[in-house]
């Protein structure tokens, strides 16, 4: 995928046993050079414009839309209750209703939020230097494995990992040690798609994030 901006997204691996169960599950990722020290007023304005479009009734009806529905159904398939562990779009919408706005935090988190709001597809970021050469993918944990930050994970959990580390539980928080920090110059962005989410939405979500982060 190349669209003006100089980046190309790579499909991540999916463990065959996981793929057999969830044929629509996929991960797309890329690395991009960034300068995280700067906050963009333009990005804040875009978030404000999105915030103006959210109403309570729309948030309630959100779950009937195709992409949120696909993520909600997938959450149930993998043992998550979407009314407890909300899907990312609903989580963002609920926070917007509670706070009255999409609070701008830093350039990276604003860009990830923008990607989510514009496409409905969640995007996560890792410190680019922490990703092993084989790239990212989705697999199940084996016995006695742990997150990169040290948190133990029982066997059979779905995680985002590379050849060396488990970076995050699937749809969970990225391990603290692998999150981008102020000195990060290269981030790895990844989006996770499920059955019912068109691939173009994943590409679009990554593209929106890269475009929002601007030239590194």
């Amino acid at each position: 995928m190349k669209r003006g901006l100089d980046f190309e997204a790579t499909p991540g691996f999916v463990e065959p046993a996981v793929r057999a169960e969830f044929p629509g599950l996929r991960l797309l990722w890329l690395t991009v050079a960034v300068n995280l020290g700067t906050r963009s007023p333009a990005l804040e304005r875009r978030l404000d414009a999105h915030a103006d479009r959210y109403r309570g009734a729309g948030v309630v009806a959100m779950r009937t839309l195709p992409i949120p529905h696909a993520y909600r159904a997938f959450f149930r398939h993998v043992g998550l209750d979407p009314d407890v562990t909300r899907i990312p779009t609903e989580q963002a919408a609920v926070e917007r209703l509670l706070q009255g706005a999409f609070a701008s935090r830093d350039a990276l988190r604003d860009a990830l939020l923008l990607g989510l709001l514009e496409t409905g597809v969640p995007v996560w970021a890792l410190d680019g230097d922490r990703v092993a050469p084989g790239g990212l993918g989705i697999r199940m944990t084996a016995e006695a494995e742990a997150l990169a930050s040290g948190g133990a994970l029982p066997a059979g959990r779905l995680v985002v990992a590379d050849a060396a580390h488990i970076h995050a539980p699937l749809f969970g928080e990225v391990a603290a040690a692998h999150r981008p920090g102020p000195r990060t110059r290269r981030v790895a962005l990844f989006a996770v798609g499920v059955d019912g989410v068109p691939s173009i939405h994943l590409e679009e979500a990554l593209w929106v994030c890269v475009e929002a982060l601007g030239p590194g």
Binding site: A61, V78, G79, M140
Partner: protein, 168 residues
């Protein structure tokens, strides 16, 4: 007529693991039920029906592969919730229909429904207005039998007078 010999190579038949097929079928059912539950919630919201808010006490967890039994549990729980939601919506719809009929009767014959009240909420409408049969011109109307149906303007304050006057 010339006959030709064709080489027909039989395609290998792939037999899917029956348990995998069962899990796939359960996932399809779960996705369908999730959609139905979402529609029920939206319907209840649109008709101001209370008591259908998602109330789950399941703990937060990590994504994992569910086995057949666990998928069946998820499916059964969702099916129960969809059934309960639809029953609640039907019950509320019946009550709202009865309220609308009562309101119509109040409109047609106000004198036979003196001081009867029907709130907008009972009609499935938003707002806190109340339809009430009241005497025209107060006491004079009561004595003369002049009755009319009036709609109160609802709460003047978003939170009501009581909450506002309550000390912090």
């Amino acid at each position: 007529m010339e006959l030709q010999e064709l080489d027909i190579v039989a395609e290998p038949v792939l037999v899917e693991d029956p348990e995998l097929a069962a899990r796939r079928s359960l996932r399809a059912q779960i996705a369908r039920l999730e959609g139905q539950l979402a529609e029920a919630l939206v319907t209840s919201f649109a008709q101001s029906i209370e008591g259908l808010e998602p109330t789950s006490c399941a703990p937060r967890a990590h994504a994992r592969m569910l086995d057949l039994g666990e998928l069946e549990c998820v499916r059964d729980e969702l099916a129960e919730r969809v059934h309960a939601s639809r029953a609640r919506i039907a019950e509320a719809a019946e009550a709202q229909a009865a309220s609308r009929i009562r309101l119509e009767q109040m409109r047609l014959e106000p004198g036979r429904h003196r001081f009867t009240r029907v709130s907008c909420r009972e009609l499935g409408e938003r707002g806190c207005g109340v339809w009430e049969v009241r005497p025209r011109l107060g006491l004079i109307g009561m004595l003369m039998g002049w009755w009319q149906l009036k709609l109160s303007s609802g709460c003047p304050l978003a939170r009501g007078r009581e909450l506002r006057s309550r000390p912090p």
